[in-house]
């Protein structure tokens, strides 16, 4: 039976998680299939390709990271949201390097998961690698070389702090998506203390100065009052 509801494959070895998340995803407009480990996930993907995959990292038989690696090696670029361990910044960085489209730390807000799944589906370009896996991100005169961490504007290399570089990378890999300060703090700094959101504003100001981006008439980064930031320029991977 075909349907226009996107099919999400939910992979977690904890039955209570899949049992509770699956109906929620269904109510939110998705078709849902579940798998209990990486191997079962690969088998299901082979039999019935989903539109998006939500996958835990730590699982028996075949873990999420290895399953993702095999998927990407086979040229399958179905959007993947990895469910990572809290606080492990190295794990988060690795998740993106290995081709995940996004990640979420457990325990997460289930509605946040739905928002992320919708966002990766919106960003997905069928059959092509996601921006998070691109070696180079480009928008107009601004380019970002992922491996060397070099940012150039009009061919001139910008001098940015490592945090500002990571912040720009996160924004450019999530274009046109409203991102809260808390999420940026969690993704870029690895902590989410509410009083620390000011840190995000400080780095954002540094980034805007370097990009000559006027906050009142932004070309790149828009401030959404009381909610967060949005990278508004169209980004292509290379």
């Amino acid at each position: 039976m075909t349907t226009d509801r996107p099919l999400v494959l939910l992979v977690d070895d904890e039955a209570d998680i899949t049992a509770n998340l699956a109906p929620l995803l269904t109510r939110s407009g998705f078709e849902v299939e579940t798998a209990a480990d990486g191997q079962e996930a690969l088998d299901r993907i082979g039999a019935h390709p989903p539109d998006a995959i939500v996958m835990d990292v730590l699982m028996p038989r075949l873990d999420g990271r290895e399953a993702l690696r095999r998927l990407r090696r086979a040229g399958d670029w179905t959007p993947v949201v990895l469910l990572t361990r809290v606080g492990e910044s190295s794990e988060r960085a690795m998740a993106l390097e290995e081709g995940a489209d996004d990640y979420l730390n457990k325990p997460f807000d289930p509605h946040e998961l739905i928002a992320r799944v919708r966002a990766v589906l919106r960003r997905a370009r069928p059959g092509q690698p996601p921006l998070s896996a691109a070696a180079r991100l480009v928008t107009g005169p601004l380019s970002f070389e992922r491996a060397s961490r070099r940012v150039r504007l009009e061919q001139v290399e910008l001098q940015l702090t490592p945090k500002a570089v990571t912040l720009l990378e996160y924004l450019m890999t999530h274009p046109d998506e409203l991102i809260s300060r808390e999420r940026l703090l969690d993704a870029v700094w690895g902590w989410d203390y509410p009083t620390g959101t000011r840190t995000v504003d400080t780095r954002m100001a540094e980034l805007r100065r370097a990009l000559h981006d006027d906050p009142t008439h932004p070309t790149y980064i828009e401030t959404v009052s009381g909610q967060g930031y949005r990278f508004i320029a169209p980004v292509r991977g290379g």
């Binding site: 209570d16 998680i17 929620l24 469910l83 361990r85 809290v86 606080g87 325990p107 690895g190 840190t199």
Partner: protein, 306 residues
């Protein structure tokens, strides 16, 4: 025992040898009025040998004491490190064991049909969020001890300006008098070699506490100054103060004093501040009097003075 104390003790221990040598030299050179009286052959030899013997004995005593102290210090450091590693492992396991049940509970709650939603459910949801946040914070606190820092020159005026800017919009801020002083004369307070974001977080936590624990009308002062090779940042308030018996426990994870229990918070803020200050090679201390107020003092090694 530090190296200076050790050098001083060895110097003292060698004094008998120096005196014996000096005495002998003076006698041989004929500076003593009646060398025969002070320096007969046997006596000089005896004084020399006795001096050498006494010095050697004293030197070995000092050396043994120093070796013992160093060994004790090393054992203490190793025990501390092992304790910290144990704690980190425990937090990792705790986090690992709690994250799946919490994820399942949150998904289950979000999944309940509308009629079941009500005040009781809202309360359950908020408590689950609280536990989620707590495990996350504990895990991150453990990570803070090992994560790489982004060191650079941190300008104190910029740091404190950002800190105050972060809370300026809060209603508590308007209800209290907040004064910031960073001396610029005769020269500005020197910069600190540190991670701006983490120092911001630590200072912000202290100011956040001052705002939370004082009553409207209180005065809060954030002061910076130079002291020798260090920069001191103080966050002082005219709040209720902290009883003396609670003060040593303030830095412990999840500790909440009697006066703090009714005020929302994780009980991790000061533990976090201390972890940050430790990673900068600094010191965090508190001085408080019940009924008068509290001052938290952050001492950080300064970069070279201007």
């Amino acid at each position: 025992m530090n190296r200076r104390d050790l050098a001083l003790l060895i110097g003292l221990a060698l004094t008998p040898l120096v005196i014996a040598l000096l005495w002998g030299a003076l006698a041989v050179a004929g500076f003593l009025p009646n060398p025969g009286l002070y320096m007969r052959g046997e006596a000089s030899a005896f004084a020399f040998v006795a001096g050498v013997g006494l010095s050697l004995w004293l030197v070995s005593l000092v050396w043994l004491a120093w070796v013992g102290a160093r060994r004790a210090h090393r054992a203490e450091a190793a025990a501390h490190k092992a304790g910290a590693a144990d704690r980190r492992r425990f937090l990792e396991r705790l986090d690992h064991e709690l994250k799946n049940p919490l994820t399942a509970i949150r998904a289950g709650l979000a999944n309940l049909p509308e009629p079941a939603q009500g005040p009781a459910l809202v309360s359950v949801e908020s408590q689950v969020r609280r536990i989620s946040r707590l495990t996350t914070d504990l895990r991150k606190l453990a990570e803070l001890e090992s994560r790489p820092l982004e060191f650079g020159a941190v300008q104190i005026d910029e740091l404190l300006e950002t800190v105050v800017g972060a809370v300026r919009e809060r209603p508590e801020f308007a209800e209290r008098t907040v004064v910031v002083s960073v001396p610029q004369a005769p020269w500005p307070v020197p910069a600190v070699h540190g991670d701006f974001d983490l120092l911001l977080l630590a200072t912000l936590n202290l100011l956040d506490n001052a705002l939370k624990f004082t009553a409207p009308g209180a005065r809060i002062e954030i002061r910076a100054r130079e002291d020798g090779g260090a920069v001191i940042i103080e966050v002082a308030d005219t709040g209720p103060g902290i009883p003396v018996d609670e003060q040593p426990h303030l830095w412990e994870e999840l500790y909440r004093g009697a006066g703090a229990r009714s005020i929302p918070g994780s009980g991790l803020g000061l533990a976090l501040c201390r972890a940050i200050v430790d990673r900068h090679g600094g010191k965090l201390s508190v001085l408080s009097q019940v009924g008068k107020g509290t001052v938290f003092t952050l001492r950080l090694p300064a970069t070279a003075s201007p």
